[in-house]
Homo-oligomer: 440 residues x 2
């Protein structure tokens, strides 16, 4: 998963947080969304003629994001990894090839392939998933079962369900090395399952029975990770949401037991809520599929058909470009996105240098088998640390400056660090780096 | 919900069932799907030239259902309420008006309306949901929050999450009067939540703290239900998946605290996985929304856009027909579906009479405010009972005759009764009634 989601940590508010707090878990997305809504309302709906302003704001809401456009004085929300950066690509020629038409009578049945292990998986989506992995070389798909989920968040829960012992034993321990993705604790514990429970930082864990979540490249800090626990009966789930060539060099084709992916961070279609898993073991794949059946009776076929079309447009774009010597990359998604990431990271590092109070992780270069050259990593999140004296709550410090980020505490780290999305619109990103450069 | 889903009960198979059995719960969809797949494989892939047969079968799979077409000797699967009956309507003129085109750049953000309580609900869907309820008059929507879910199954779980006490108390008891929808026990218990647990037949329940699931018209037996428990701090969740004029007279606009609906059984688009809830209390609506955020970070926007278009086509169809004196109902969904249900129930009752070994619930007439006449109920499932001596396992008896149904045990009833879907294709339904009429 490693997509968006709630945060574990120590803050939050209201009744839900009281419940969540008992579990050492926090409902931070709700909190952050509420905070954002509050700021927006103040900004757009404040003053005496609130009703008129509201009408105006409603008209201004962009139809594709539900968020008002930003201005120089806006609150800039970089808390979630909302991948709006990709919209420009899909408004181009490739986007036309990804347009989908669904007639009224299409995909009415629950079933996609009744004889298949994952009976709700559209065969066309499976085909395009396998084709994309062959193109990119980031994961071995041959010999693996493909499963589809409502985002990789659902597949993550499906994996916990599948890997937990069915008997009356104590709940399975779920761990991940800090800093870990902030949603892992919240999503693991929100139903107080007797099958599994969040057990914190993998580096501090001492036991034989566990599921280790390995997010690589890591959300939040972009680092390349391997499982830190090797003992006993433990199993690893590899969250490879960001193992795509725009973010990191593809150094080899991953071949782990369970690998999770999502279109949100590969193509930018977060609203489609579509993830997939590559699973080696048939029994595990069956149980994961069973989870999705019980949880949502399968996955939207409309999203599956659309994701298939989108993945097809990407792979077709590279097939068309093969052998083409000119540098037109208008149809090549990973080239488009990498250029964006290179440019944004350059601007961010310049702003950090201009400010003088922040630091960022070092660049990690490596040989990319997809690009066939040595390239740096340009993670989808900036893990921004502040050295200024007195700033112990960097999230709060930035919020006062109208930048919404996600504080380190939610990732099992300290408060002097935050996670910042690098994937929002050009406009929001530009305002963010300008503001950052001026802080000192 | 009351859609499809797993069964509670006593059978099942494999490791999952061992786990589920501990909870008094059973993984029967998996079992039934496995059984169906087994039959299909035997039928299509048996013999020596299995590979050739497989290729042929693959080509034969209908693209909109993933199920092979039925023949006179087929296994007929009426276990799930797969609403293929509706396909003919959507292949007509109304279907053209429900066609949706989604450009590549559309709906990329996680957000649909960032300032809204249900921030992932597409405003266009909310509008059409409210409009449809105004047309049909089956539920009060004014003054209610509209929530969207990945099918009403997800909204059912969201309601349990929202209604369970947040503190360290014992799990909330979840009950429903038998015969209850077979998925209720399985979906309530599959994660062994510490927040809630299945507590069985509401009529046998003796306690003050509970959630009562009221499915009306009832899945499986079509009866009109009210909450049977009124004591203590109990809360009711009304599953109104079938409270539409094709199935039952609309006698009044329901105005319960939490009401669940799904497009699957209203329009026939099960593959779209789209349900909605009308919720009176703001805090409950917020917690339900939070569940969906943690579970799947919202709901497919593609499905929401499509559902909005489909609901719009229905309401528009009636708007167009208003004042029109001729009887052309090609654009009127509820008229189409009611004619189908009347015809199918007539055939089923004739077959039951011809056979002599079965009985069905009586017809329930009432004044329908939507049709403005007295009409009978024509439930989406037949609750078929067998009086023949020696037939204590009617599900098994029918399976031997190549009809797959869902046995009474899964609904908290006895084995001499089964639930049969009335919503499959014309072809499957015709073969079913022919076979039934010949049993004696």
């Amino acid at each position: 998963m490693a997509t968006m989601g709630g945060g574990g940590g120590k803050d939050g508010g209201g009744g839900m947080a009281a419940q969540a707090g008992r579990l050492g878990v926090v409902a931070s997305v709700a909190f952050n969304l509420a905070a954002l809504a509050f700021y927006l309302r103040r900004r757009y709906f404040g003053g005496d003629d609130a009703a008129a302003a509201r009408k105006k704001a409603e008209a201004e809401v962009a139809p594709s994001s539900g968020k008002p456009p930003v201005t120089k004085d806006s609150i800039i929300n970089l808390d979630h990894g909302d991948p709006m950066m990709y919209e420009a690509f899909w408004r181009g020629g490739a986007g036309e090839r990804a347009t989908i038409v669904i007639p009224g009578w299409q995909t009415m049945s629950y079933f996609s392939d009744v004889g298949s292990l994952c009976w709700f998986l559209e065969p066309g989506l499976e085909r395009e998933v396998r084709r994309l992995h062959r193109l990119v070389g980031n994961a071995v798909a041959d010999g693996y079962h493909v499963l589809v989920g409502t985002g990789s968040t659902q597949l993550f829960q499906a994996a916990l369900y599948a890997l937990s012992p069915p008997g009356p034993s104590a709940p399975m321990n779920v761990v991940s090395p800090a800093p870990y993705y902030s949603s892992y604790p919240a999503v693991t514990d929100f139903l107080k399952s007797g099958l599994y429970r969040w057990a914190g930082d993998a580096k501090m864990f001492d036991g034989d029975t566990y599921v280790e979540l390995v997010c690589s490249p890591s959300n939040p800090d972009g680092g390349i990770r391997e499982a830190v626990l090797k003992s006993g009966d433990g199993v690893a789930v590899h969250d490879l949401a960001y193992y795509w060539p725009q973010y990191t060099p593809i150094t080899s084709a991953a071949a782990h037991d369970i690998m999770l992916f999502t279109v949100s961070k590969c193509t930018g279609h977060a609203g489609t809520r579509l993830g997939w898993a590559l699973v080696k073991d048939r029994a595990v794949a069956q149980k994961m599929s069973k989870f999705i059946e019980l949880n949502t009776i399968g996955v939207s076929k409309d999203s599956q058909l659309r994701a298939a079309k989108i993945l097809k447009a990407i792979t077709d774009g590279y097939d068309r470009a093969a052998g083409d010597d000119d540098d037109d990359s208008s149809g090549r998604l990973f080239h488009f996105a990498r250029r964006k990431m290179v440019s944004r990271w350059a601007k961010l590092r310049a702003a950090v240098a201009a400010s003088g109070i922040f630091t960022l992780p070092d660049e990690l270069p490596g040989h990319c088998t997809f690009a066939n050259e040595t390239v740096s990593a340009y993670p989808p999140f900036a893990w921004l640390r502040c050295g200024k004296e007195g700033v112990d709550d960097l999230e709060g410090y930035l919020r006062e400056r109208k930048i919404i980020s996600r504080g380190g505490g939610k990732f099992g780290a300290d408060g002097r660090v935050v996670r910042i999305s690098m994937l929002d619109t050009d406009e929001a990103f530009a305002i963010f780096v300008d503001r950052l450069a001026a802080m000192n």
